[in-house]
């Protein structure tokens, strides 16, 4: 999956321009994002849609900040489903999100922030 370099540049700009800081954000995402997917799955099996919604909400903005717009969009769709109660296809959506998350973390891990 292609990482949106402009989004990463924007983040770098906001936090002050130090590539080391950006490297830390990337590390944080790689560490946190799989956990958020686990939260979604746990919420799904426990029928706890609030838990699913909050995990989706967090992943939505984190993915956007870290240059993974598709993942962000999928998370937004899941959050909307949780809000409206249309959760029939949510399980399949979470599977999709899991795949995109793996792709995003792999893509981000390959990036050298100093070359942006």
């Amino acid at each position: 999956m292609a990482i949106d370099h402009d989004a990463l540049k924007k983040l770098l700009d906001i936090v002050g321009g130090d590539p080391e800081d950006l490297a830390e954000f990337i590390e944080d995402f790689v560490e946190i994002a799989p956990g958020l997917v686990s939260d979604m799955r746990a919420g799904l099996s426990a029928d706890d849609w609030d838990k699913v919604r909050i995990a989706a909400h967090t992943l939505k903005s984190n993915a956007k900040d870290l240059g993974a717009p598709e993942l962000s969009e999928l998370s937004k769709t899941l959050e909307d489903q949780c809000k409206s109660g249309n959760t029939a296809e949510s399980s399949a959506l979470i599977d999709q999100i899991a795949v995109q998350t793996t792709a995003a973390t792999a893509g981000l891990s390959a990036i050298d922030p100093t070359t942006l």
């Binding site: 983040l11 700009d13 906001i14 995402f29 838990k51 909050i54 903005s61 984190n62």
Partner: protein, 508 residues
């Protein structure tokens, strides 16, 4: 450098960031720090609220969607707390999908909103706007507090408290704005009125004291002359003392009973009254009447000024009144005058009996002094003078009567109602008036100033001695009298330290 805030340059504005997402929290923290503000982080609504209660923040960046206590709950809790209500909150939200949430947050009191994918310029604008508003609000609150304090001070003035220290608005004058000026003018005027009133009351106080001193002096000054007249007419000392005290007992007890002043009289006061009886009604009266038979009335009156010095020593030793150098000089002058007169009048060069009379004469003012200090220090506050003196005199006449019969053979001076009886009756009336006046004087001006009536007593004593008995004074003695009068001027009444309440209304 912190150029974005309206706070003083040495003080960084403090921003609390409340967001459950680590990445969002860190992003906000870095961005806010870039702008030169200080930050604290909270991972949940609960943690954020706890932080707000623990320390002071100038602005809060608040995420809405959080597990547990969300942003709306935090806003509600802040609204319910008067100390947090005025802290501006900027909610952080993705505008495109959460428009309703933002509207709801602003309805709950949020100041503004910031999109999740903000850029630094927008963040700076939001924070600056919120901080400026907060500073205006803080200034308003501070101004209102000052207005409230000034109003409270005005209410104090309305109830008569003009003393600037009592108004407690001294610090308000330090402010350079119009309210500070109002406070300065207000305190200044109140202080001016207070000082005027203080000067007026002091003048009245001193005048009352001086009038009473002269009255007491003139009255007391006549007693040596009248006592000597009575002695010359054949009145015996102990019997005369018994009659005088019985007369005083009768008149004071009747007046006090009519005025209902026995209501606060307690049996436990009898101990105090018994000591007073021995000092005043027995020792003083007997010594005076004995001396009156032997010594010229003018001399007796002059010796009485010694009382001022003794009272001063006693009052200073018992810390009842302040011993100032001015008072000390005044009293010493008076004392010098007394001794000049004594050496002039008495034959002290030979080993004659005059030395004994001198010592006995000096014991009389000492007894007066002991009495005045004793009364000023020990009299129970709710014991009125009239019933107290009445009972004291009654006790003393019962104590004196047996000794009068034993020593002098009878309580009667003669078989009928002759000169001795008439003069004795006059003496009774004069002493009755004098005692009441002099105790009023001690109450008003304190024992040291009251003792200065001894000087007036001296002048009056000399006058009465010349008038009633044809006695005379040498030129040396007159110089001594001048010393005594200067001494009187140097001793002023005991200062009145209670705060003055000026009873007048500005609003009615």
């Amino acid at each position: 450098m912190n150029t974005t805030t309206a706070l003083p340059p040495d003080q960084l504005a403090k921003v609390l960031i409340v967001d459950d997402s680590l990445i969002s929290r860190k992003k906000l923290r870095s961005a806010v720090k870039q702008l030169g503000y200080d930050t604290d982080l909270a991972e949940s609504g609960e943690q954020g609220l706890a932080a707000l209660q623990d320390s002071e923040y100038d602005v809060v960046l608040l995420d809405i969607v959080m597990p547990g206590m969300d942003g709306f709950d935090v806003l509600r809790a802040m609204n319910a707390d008067a100390t947090l209500r005025d802290i501006p909150v900027v909610v952080v939200s993705s505008l495109e999908d959460e428009r309703d949430s933002v509207v709801r947050a602003i309805e709950l009191g949020a100041e503004d909103f910031l999109p999740k994918d903000f850029d630094p310029v927008l963040l700076r604008a939001r924070l600056t706007a919120s901080l400026t508003k907060k500073q205006y609000r803080d200034q308003e609150k501070e101004y209102l507090t000052r207005v409230e304090r000034l109003t409270a001070a005005a209410q104090k003035v309305e109830t008569g408290q003009f003393k600037p220290e009592s108004l407690q608005i001294d610090d308000l004058r330090q402010h350079k704005d119009a309210l500070g000026q109002l406070a300065a003018v207000f305190t200044g005027m109140a202080g001016e009125i207070y000082q005027r009133e203080l000067r007026l009351r002091k003048a009245i106080h001193a005048l009352q004291g001086i009038i009473l001193v002269i009255t007491v002096g003139i009255l007391w000054g006549s007693t040596p002359a009248i006592s000597r007249l009575a002695a010359n007419a054949g009145a015996t000392p102990l019997a005369l003392a018994t009659w005088v005290n019985l007369f005083l007992a009768g008149s004071y007890i009747s007046i006090a009973a009519v005025r209902g002043q026995f209501a606060t009289f307690r049996l436990k006061y009898l101990g105090f009254l018994l000591i007073w009886t021995v000092i005043a009604a027995i020792l003083q009266r007997v010594v005076l009447l004995f001396l009156a038979g032997q010594i010229e009335a003018t001399l007796l009156a002059l010796v009485a000024t010694f009382q001022g010095f003794i009272v001063f020593i006693f009052a200073s030793l018992t810390k009842l009144e302040k011993a100032t150098p001015k008072r000390l000089i005044g009293l010493t002058l008076g004392l010098v005058g007394v001794f000049v007169v004594l050496f002039d009048k008495l034959d002290l060069t030979s080993a004659g009996s005059d030395w004994w009379w001198l010592l006995l004469s000096l014991s009389l003012p000492t007894l007066y002094a002991i009495e005045w200090v004793f009364v000023a220090a020990k009299k129970p506050a709710d014991l009125d003078f009239l019933p107290a003196i009445g009972v004291m005199m009654l006790m003393s006449s019962f104590l004196l009567a047996p000794s009068a019969i034993l020593v002098e053979g009878s309580l009667l001076f003669s078989d009928g109602f002759g000169e001795a009886e008439v003069v004795s009756l006059i003496l009774c009336v004069v002493i009755a008036f004098t005692m009441i006046t002099s105790f009023k004087l001690v109450d008003l001006a304190g024992p040291v100033f009251a003792s200065q009536s001894a000087y007036a007593m001296t002048m009056a004593g000399i006058g009465w001695g010349m008038l009633l008995l044809g006695e005379s004074l040498s030129s040396t003695a007159w110089i001594a009298v001048a010393f005594i009068l200067i001494g009187l001027l140097l001793v002023s009444p005991k200062p009145d330290n209670t705060e003055i309440v000026i009873k007048r209304s500005f609003t009615k």
